[in-house]
Amino acid sequence: MVLYGPVWSDWVRYDVRDKLRKWREDKVRNSTETAELGEYLLANYRRKLGDEVWPLFEQVSIASLDCGKLSLARLCIHAVREQFPQSSRSKRLHGMLEEAEGDFESAKETYEEILKGDPANGLVMKRLVAIHKGKNDIPSAIKELNKYIASFMSDSEAWMELAELYIQEQDYSKAAFCFEELILYNPHHHLYHQRYAEILYTQGGIDNLEIARKYFAQAVKLNSNNIRALYGMLLCAYHIASSSKSTAKKKTENTKYASWAKVQLDYKYKQSEPKDEEVLGEMFDRLAITSGN
């Protein structure tokens, strides 16, 4: 109770409110903490928050859906819907609640209703994809996501999601296509190069291995601490060198690359975990890689 001025509980309230506000602006998604703090704030200080209570409701409802606290989510979303019955934003939250409860059919209806009124609402289209994912129906999720991407081609998150779905379906050529798009949007991000190379490596075939080796090398060039890319380069080079179809020139080149990668890995492991050296040595022996040839 506030008597003569700010009391300890007030400071706590301001602290909590500011923290949640910062998370909202930075789009941080600490769901468990957000749900707990938000519940505390909304239960005790609802009136004192004023107009800020509505974005807070939205934030807390999404966080509680993430944690599975359906009762809290229902409370928040109900309050928002009462205040803003016509808003597509509140309808979307209602659809998310229906999804969380497992009622995919009515969620789908809700979303399609929103899309009828506002056909360019990208968030709702993505929720439709999420419905299919929730039902574990990956092919329809892929179809829906393709429809979304046909309209919103520059959404790199969507391409990333599509790549993951294709990998789940083991459709590696299409997943490689998606990763190429991601490389186009962020050409200096070493992880995209590395994952693209991994997909090519998984597909197999000498040509793919050569391209994969190059992309692993690019990943190492962009970030020399990328151990996975070093391993990738090592394995690609080794496989090309030991394949029967490569020319002598290719063999020498690739053994050179492989031993370089091995030297790098040795050095990196020496730097961090000296006792793992033996294990590493054994592994390399088993792969029969020697330095210099």
Partner: protein, 255 residues
Amino acid sequence: MAELLLDTNIRFWVVLPIVFITFFVGIIRHYVSLLLSSQKKVDLQKVSDGQVLMRSKLLRENGKYLPKRSFQMRKHYFNDEETGFFKTQNREPAMQNPMADPSMLTEMMKGNLTNILPMIVIGGWINWTFSGFVITKVPFPLTLRFKPMLQRGVELASLDASWVSSASWYFLNVFGLRSVYSLILGENNAADQTRLMQQQMAQPMAMAPDPAKAFKAEWETLEIVDHKWMLANVEDELIGNTPYPSDVYVKNKYQ
């Protein structure tokens, strides 16, 4: 250079009131336009077109990081003579004529109503109320051509053009208080008239032929792009002649 001594009452009863009037009218205009503003309907086609253009631009710029085949595949998708995206998508030129398009017409009318009309009305009222005397002197010399413009109501042939009347002080305020509005109302406020005027001038260029012409321009720029694969010699670059100082451990140069 005649030095006039102005009545100090002018300072209190003319200069400051005009500042306050301009300021408050601006704030009122901002809130009125907020009330009158209608929800802008986002056209899916327009959004999608913008994104396509962005993707094509990125292909042009970063295509050299992709393998040759992938780049060719995408270029073919966009530029091919029969099936390419930029060739087959015909967009209707959007309505340029504001008289023919009802929604744009109301939008323009609302814009005019909330901005130009009050300015004219209040400018005229100030001119009528505070007429017959000069308010202040601008700190830089002006030519005689400015006299009829800036010295309404004061018909003195020998008076310096630097002495201005109330109407010009009003217009000075309108433009000058822009930064004060952005301080108080935040960016993008509706009281900012100069931005609106710039928009009105820029609009005829930015709108209608946008899809068709933009596609054609993008087609041309994509057509001339050549693919030079950045990754062709990346391993040699990595191994041979680029010793990163602290990270890469190069034992000795490979013979």
